[in-house]
Subunit: 202 residues, 2 copies
């Protein structure tokens, strides 16, 4: 069996690197050759960091954010406002919102948005567990912080209906966000403002 690069080990590393999103075979080769030029400790650090991250990180049993413990540092932080829960699509959005410092409450990560075209219905998402949290915890406000897209609006509306019989205020991020753009590309100032100016869902 002839190898493309005359090294089975290089072939394999390039193959694995090119599985990453946005990394083609050319980029993968460039990265692999970079690592070969560097100190072997650097490649080991990278490899171990990847493996240990994947094996050490699990999901918070309360908010479904990533966590190294059964309950994440945000849910465990009793300095945060436990009466306000911010509902986001994914883990990335928690990081994005945390960077604004505009939200001092908790989170709830849905794991996606309702999207019939992609076959994602409410049962695929952490919506039932959100309703349970609202029933069991002393939550006064649920902030819907989903992307202002059709899928985001659909999900907002579904959650709003699910929570409508419960004694909780449901708010939605102010539409300072440019409609049609993904949440993760909004600048921190705009995103911060849109958290401050959140309005009752109607």
């Amino acid at each position: 069996m002839e190898s493309s690069f005359n090294s089975r080990l290089l072939d394999r590393a390039v193959g694995e690197l090119s599985k990453l999103p946005g990394v083609g075979k050319k980029t993968a080769l460039r990265l692999a050759l970079h690592l070969l030029r560097r100190d072997s400790g650097e490649a080991r650090s990278l490899g171990e960091a990847i493996i240990e991250m994947r094996e050490g990180i699990t999901y918070c049993e309360k908010c479904h954010n990533i966590s190294e413990e059964p309950v994440c540092p945000i849910c465990s932080d009793f300095h945060r406002d436990r009466k306000i829960v911010c509902v986001v699509e994914n883990v990335k959005d928690v990081i994005t919102i945390e960077a604004t410092h505009a939200h001092r409450g908790l989170y709830h990560v849905l794991g996606g948005l309702i999207s019939p075209l992609d076959g994602i219905g409410p049962s695929e998402l952490e919506i039932e567990s959100l309703v349970e949290r609202v029933k069991e915890e002393e939550i006064e406000e649920v902030i819907l912080a989903l992307s202002p897209t059709i899928e985001g609006d659909t999900t907002n509306f579904y959650i709003f209906r699910k929570l409508s019989s419960l004694p909780v205020n449901v708010t939605v991020l102010a539409r300072g966000l440019s409609v049609g753009n993904e949440l993760e590309y909004a600048d921190e100032l705009t995103l911060g403002k849109s958290i401050q100016n959140r309005i009752p869902f109607s």
Copy 2:
């Protein structure tokens, strides 16, 4: 110590990934979150492939190409024409030239080009070892396959002088029009060279 992403393991993986060339912190985070969403076997395969590649690959003691053995598969291949040695800047160039299937001889990897501005002189490169190979092996032709840049030309000239007293032909890659490109888009220097170096039509 507070971590940027509320996970030390994620912080570390993002930190290591963003050391890669062309990978900023945002891209590193995107890659890390991608790996977190995938099967843990995938992250393990990637991590191990990187570590094992770096530890298993060394440099061929003859041509200085990457190799898993003291002598690389190309230098060990007795079906190749051992009278012709192609001199290249780096390992990537060996892969690029191998992909053309136009060279059936051996290689010699310099490890860079002479570049006084970057502080790279001839002694930093595998030039002395090339001269030794020409003296000791039965090499009839040295093909200089360096980039057509100032550094490449300087290095070509230096090697040419070093080999001038030895019974070996020194050739250089043809400079001319790129195949498939419109003549009007060729730069004047290249077009001029391709007129000077015109060859009989066949």
